[in-house]
Amino acid sequence: MPTASHFVDGTKTLAEQETDLNDMEQLGAQKVTSYAESTKPAAGDKGNEALLQPVPFGQQPPPLELIALAAGDDVAKAIAAQVSQGKTVVFHETCWVESKETLVIGVRKQK
């Protein structure tokens, strides 16, 4: 299955990055499967990279929501809290957010 890749500016706020990722999904009829800070030169300084997989027209999953964890937060607890709210975890990776390395969880509401 073909995979697309796009870069997002890591100096942006988490909300701005969430908008970028949802725009990619909605416009391209695809879904984000991975999102993390990128070391590729093309990403530029402090860039994140999103990998996306195609979704057949009409089967678009619910919007992606990004949650930033504070330093020292328990990742397992944070994920469990999201799952208990009926959300599925798409990824949990270190990303650039407002130029700072931040652990970010990507979740969706279940359909």
């Binding site: 796009h6 500016d9 970028d20 725009d23 416009l27 990403a43 530029g44 027209f57 009409g58």
Partner: protein, 300 residues
Amino acid sequence: MIYTMSFCRVTAALLVLGMTGCIARIKGPAVPKSISTPVYKDSDFSGDVANYRAATDPAKLDLVAAKAYRDRIVYGMMADIEYLFRDYEGNLFINSAKFNIGGDFLELGLSTAATLGNGARTKTILSALGSAAAGNRISIDKNFFRQRTFEAIVNAMEARRSAVEKRILDQLQKSADLYPFEAALKDLREYFFAGTLEGGLTELQQETGAAARTNLHRVEATKEMLTEATAINHSLAKISTTKDYSKLIKFLRAMGKNVDDKTSESDLQQAYRDVANAALDDPELMKKFREEIKKAGVIP
């Protein structure tokens, strides 16, 4: 009380003096004599150039000898340029404190190649290269340089030198008629200036320019764009339910895709996705995408 304060001041002064003394005494390892001085003398250079000219005289052309003389000149000068670069780099580190002050930094950044290094030998090399150190100026943006650390500039100098060195070594594989001494001299000039502060600053400017260009390929969406993208996605869902792909085909053809009503559903969907992904990385294409999708009637 007064006695105690005076004692403290004297102790502090002695400590500072002692620490400064330590810094001044730090030295690198002893350099072997064989590599601590330039090896390619001016007389060697003049003799080899004369021999090269004789070997490339059309009347008695000897390409094997010409290549040997050319290579000897180039390797000799590269060895000396390398020696000068290390000397220059060492002096830059000693003076690196000045880089923290905008004015001094700027002044030092624009100084000629001979200012900090082994002045006399640099002058000789420059004379052999036929270049003046002065006049090799670059446009300066103070804010740009203030954001750069001294180490980054030295690393950029090293990177630029390595790139030119590789090119010269590759070219030396060629015969003297394909890579004549004059062409090598041009590359040697570039090799020399790549190892100056100006060369490092130029390299950094170019790297920053390249990074700025790649930033254009980052996805830039606004809430309004997302609202429109969601409307497009809903419309695509309807198209797949009704199986009426005519509007999408019209749009894809306007975007340069070779599709028609015989194209399979999955191929049409993938063709659309390819166009959308290309547009996400290209603001100009995105503008066209949003115009054409409305024109085709996919969204009102």
